[in-house]
Symmetry: C2
């Protein structure tokens, strides 16, 4: 793979980690960061996530590939503007929702230069200081509506994700958003709601702090996640998220009914059903 000059729009958790991987795998000859937050811009340089920081238009002109790693609401606003300015560059987004973005680009004269992707990796932290080396390795990268992208742009994107250690899947944006609601978005809602439950009822914060076991920490850790990132995801994937959330409340009510009836057999059945997840998740 010939090294390319890459513009990274957004130098937080996702963009910063991606920049580190591009550098480490010798995919980039240079990474030019675009960052609206001055503190983050300074941190991205200090942490050597990017080689320099530049204004968007300059960075686009100086690059062969533009990667967008910003919250999905900003993505929907910025992507058309970026596509308006590219000639032959490749534009890739890393957003967690895909339908709205892909639909809003339909018919754009430069649509072929854009590849809609979602690398399935993240942590509950945000900003350049949250960026990690070898972040994406072992996880899935999804490419959506590949048939709407130019072949060279697709090829490069596939090669890039393979090189940073991801396995590729391709699907339509609508299928992506449905699956993402199940395997990612609902986990965040349950975690946020669990944190609120415990914070609401357990007034003795010291008790939570002292007693919290690894099990609690693992179910609640996503509740540290950033509202600026997650509100737009939930809003853009609203119908799917709402559908899963309703089902999740139904499932919790089944547990509640078993408990109200003091019915251990009923609880046992529900738990044994859920144990089927053992076959699926390591």
């Amino acid at each position: 793979m010939e090294r390319k000059r890459i513009c990274m729009v957004g130098t937080g958790l996702m963009g910063g980690s991606m920049a580190l991987s591009l550098h480490q795998e010798k995919i980039s000859s240079k990474v030019i960061g675009v960052e609206s937050d001055p503190t983050h811009a300074r941190e991205a340089i200090e942490l050597e996530l990017v080689d320099e920081i530049a204004p968007l238009h300059e960075a686009i002109e100086a690059s062969e590939v533009i990667v967008l790693a910003i919250p999905v609401d900003a993505m929907v606003r910025l992507l058309p503007e970026v596509l308006d300015r590219v000639n032959n560059q490749i534009v890739i987004d890393l957003g967690s929702t895909k339908s709205l973005l892909v639909n809003s680009m339909k018919g754009h004269t430069r649509r072929g230069r854009y590849v809609a992707t979602h690398p399935m990796w993240g942590t509950e932290y945000s900003g350049p200081r949250a960026a990690l080396r070898n972040a994406f390795r072992g996880n899935a990268a999804i490419i959506c509506n590949a048939h709407e992208s130019d072949e060279d742009a697709l090829q490069w994107t596939r090669a890039m994700y393979s090189k940073i250690g991801m396995h590729l899947l391709e699907m339509e944006a609508t299928a992506h958003d449905l699956h993402a609601a199940y395997v990612s978005h609902i986990s965040h809602i349950t975690s946020f709601a669990l944190a609120n439950t415990v914070l609401e009822k357990e007034r003795e914060e010291q008790a939570i702090f002292e007693l919290a076991s690894a099990g609690f920490a693992s179910t609640v850790r996503l509740a540290k996640s950033n509202a600026e990132m997650w509100v737009p995801i939930f809003m853009q994937n609203r119908d799917n998220v709402l559908d899963v959330l309703k089902e999740h409340i139904v499932q919790l009510q089944r547990f509640r009914e078993c408990l109200e009836k003091n019915d251990g057999e009923c609880l046992g059945k529900l738990i044994k059903e859920s144990n089927k997840i053992r076959k699926i998740i390591n």
Copy 2:
């Protein structure tokens, strides 16, 4: 600490891990396992969790300390029988619920020999093969109703937990069960229900398998936990668990209402509230 002969009733995840710690920290001169499941008994020997397997009555007679590491329903049945048979031995249980057990022992002539404890550690796996070295280090061990135990039994139990790396907390059984509902039991219910949600709605198991990110895995991993262990915990701590579960459903409904109203500001507020967990959980 003088090494003691210890009887371990139950050689699964908890008992097996405890046996490994007792041996490693030179607390035990010998660990005699009591195990009703013949496969587990054989595994406990093969894995060198225990030095030998013996029938309960023989093991009690041959030991200075008896540790009960069995599901909490079996614990309530077995503890009185064990206490009936001890002379000056120390009896410790590792159960996740404490009120029913402590209340059922009130007035027993040997009550002083018994120390009610809950080491706050576990994994989603079970059986002797799930036993881990250095399992308890860094977590809290709770001693309940310490005033009902003899001083020498308490001293030894405190020293033992310190030596295997746990920090000690003492509280009444009723307070323990309330806190445990918040920082442990509810996490298991949300995880079981989340697994059922995804298994119910996401018919493409392959998609879950391929797409599942670390976030999903961490919120759903407790759903691998054993019904035989967890049903009795939920039943014994029913009122507290039901109370927390009701609040959790209310919290999820708040997210649902924000989504139904397409209200991003409302979602943002809920998420920012939940972010307060950052101060409490590392």
